[in-house]
Symmetry: C2
Subunit: 226 residues, 2 copies
DNA sequence: TGTACATCAGTGAACGCGCGTTCACTGATGTAC
DNA sequence: TGTACATCAGTGAACGCGCGTTCACTGATGTAC
């Protein structure tokens, strides 16, 4: 048994095809997203071409057009996948503080930055200007995933408003946008290493983000309450 | 007089050459930065090629290599030019509030966002990840211009600390970085139109930034003083 | 003031490249009868 | 259960493109004497 090749088909011309049948791929769409993502991870989004993704997936260079209308729509699918993972990450990170929305907010911000630091180029692709809202109608699934992720923040902010940690006098979406901008800006400065001259290392980044969030939250407290 | 051609040289093969001599350009370096910038303004940085910049400047496609070692170094020069303009803008905006550093800070933030909204693609190029600090040694002039611009913010923050508008318990550079991150993040959300779903228009952007700055500044006040 | 010459900013042709996309096609798959 | 056929995911070759960069060159410029 062990000496036999795993594949019984002897006339397969190419040695290591993915599995079973050689002509049909199985799930090329998913495979292209995966290989495309790995190119982005290793060499950045600028290095990704449809041809390269196809080659890596072991199909001809025209095959991707069965699943994506053009290159941008592959990029959009990769970005969408990123938001889904980020969303799942945020959900997981905010579990476990059932009675402490402020702790959830901190956990969410921490995880957001963590994701950006771990998946830098994926993160950049998700927010790349060519995919962003003006093109929302072109990529509705991407928009949906991005909005769902943002809504996770809004929920936590609303909870913070209920406990008085954040003032209710400003709309939760507006406050969320402000917090997001603040954390997003910090994150970009971090991954672009624009804070290197301050002697900031990536290791210290979580503490920095925590401070950033705290100093911003101080400005969002409702001084009339609490 | 009016019917005569403006140029007395009759054997010029090309109708409208820049000026005087036809072989030497005069200041091709500056011209390439100018035409390169105009391409970026009109079509975004991705549309810029050295060849296109050369064509627009009216020289052969190999000529740019007399002035730039490669494409990236033209981009760096364009980015540097951007920081110089931004810096000059910020200087101008902060004049006129000699005794009110907090007003200077607001004016500076306002102008920063204004610049980004007016010169969106130039702004993006200035902060594009391929030119940013990791490559500082490759583009020392760019780094210098970027740092000088940032220092303008630090100065204003230091002044705010002197009058007690901002706590002195945190280093001015650190506080400046936080404020920058916050405003920078907001600015990016604005120019990427990521706040469109909140019904935010570009017209409202200055008010939004002002609010963002205020809510952040509240968190930076020194409650033991003032 | 005039001439010789080094310097240097341009030219134009070419190299090699990889890309996005289209096209007519072929082989595999699933379904209706 | 077997067969005919529509469907569709792939192939492979080709189109047209513009790019970054190099190279040997040439014409203009400025300087030393």
């Amino acid at each position: 048994m062990t000496s036999m090749p795993t594949k019984p088909d002897p006339k397969s011309p190419e040695p290591t095809k993915k599995s079973g049948t050689s002509y049909h791929h199985g799930d090329l769409r998913k495979a292209l997203i995966k290989t495309g993502l790995s190119v982005i991870r290793e060499q950045g989004a600028h290095a990704l071409s449809l041809r390269e993704a196809a080659r890596m997936a072991g199909v001809s260079e025209a095959a991707p057009y069965r699943h994506f209308t053009n290159k941008e729509s592959l990029l959009a699918a990769i970005a969408e996948e990123g938001f889904k993972r980020l969303h799942a990450d945020l959900l997981e990170a905010t579990q476990g503080f059932p009675n402490n929305p402020l702790a959830r907010l901190h956990a969410l911000a921490d995880r957001y930055v963590g994701f950006a630091l771990e998946e830098t180029d994926h993160f950049r692709t998700m927010y790349s200007s060519s995919l962003v809202p003006p093109h929302a109608e072109t990529h509705p699934d991407l928009s949906k995933a991005a909005l769902a992720t943002f809504d996770e923040l809004v929920k936590v902010v609303e909870d913070c408003q209920k406990t008085g940690s954040i003032s209710s006098s400003v709309d939760a979406k507006v406050t969320s946008t402000r917090l997001w901008a603040s954390i997003y800006g910090m994150t970009l400065l971090l991954i672009d290493q624009q804070m290197a001259f301050l002697g900031v290392t990536v290791d210290q980044s979580h503490a920095i983000i925590r401070d950033q969030l705290d100093s911003h939250l101080d400005g969002l407290k409702d001084f009339h309450k609490a």
